[in-house]
Symmetry: C2
Subunit: 152 residues, 2 copies
């Protein structure tokens, strides 16, 4: 990982959130539109050997959080980000050895509005869609509402 | 913990779901209506020192799962339980040293219907409400839809 922003995100996640370190979450890739993170099934399985719902949710939640973290850092805004609510669907068991979550691209109009709010007020709210998919399509789908808090 | 069913639930959670062991999840109490589970903040904090959203979700998810596990075991039905979907609201930061999740009592009519389905068909679906609360009221509220799968 040569991008210093991604290295910083990785360090924050695994250094400051102990459960993320135990989950083995790694920042995978980022192309300014899509952020992917991964975690090994070996550390995140349930009693049936498939992905533990709590781990799948945590991976998706952190992936969305990371997406806004990167955006805030790019804009030079303090990354004080919280998730307010989320809805998750567990569509099929996850059984790949590497679980990969992908924060899907944000609608350009919504992103522009969000960035404008961040620049003007240092705060804003945005809805993100994060998926864990395999060759058959999505297995887990999370919609989360994230907020950047003003830096008081 | 003297109740063998609760001891069995504890053993299943911490023995077969590695992240639950890392989270330090413990079955706290059960009175046939309300199940509570706890986890220490020390192992489940985020970068701001409050409860990590992924851990809070996982604790609530497992608490609901455990509620149905106990019910299935009491009925002598194989506890093949999955969560299909959930919606969570993070209302306030969680900063108690012991995070306590409570699966709230199920509406008696819904519970009767669910038990009847389990007895007749060995399968059924039920919605549960799990909360993490403190003296000020709920800080996290999760509604989850759980399914007991038929034992093929």
């Amino acid at each position: 990982m040569t991008d210093p922003l991604l290295a910083d995100l990785q360090k924050t996640i695994e250094g400051e959130i102990p459960i993320c370190a135990h989950m083995g979450i790694e920042v995978d890739s980022y192309d300014q539109e899509t952020l992917t993170m991964r975690a090994p099934l070996a550390q995140n399985h349930n009693h049936q050997g498939t992905g533990f719902a709590g781990s799948l949710n945590a991976l998706c939640t952190v992936c969305g959080w990371g997406r806004i973290y990167l955006l805030a850092r790019e804009l030079g805004i303090p990354p004080r980000i919280v998730i307010r609510r989320s809805t998750i669907k567990y569509l099929r068991p996850v059984d790949q050895p590497r679980i990969i979550a992908r924060c899907l691209p944000i609608d350009p109009d919504e992103l522009s509005h969000f960035v404008a709010m961040l620049k003007e007020k240092g705060t804003g709210k945005i809805d993100l869609h994060i998926e864990i998919a395999d060759a058959e399509g999505p297995a887990v789908s999370l919609h989360g509402s994230y907020v950047v808090l003003a830096d008081h």
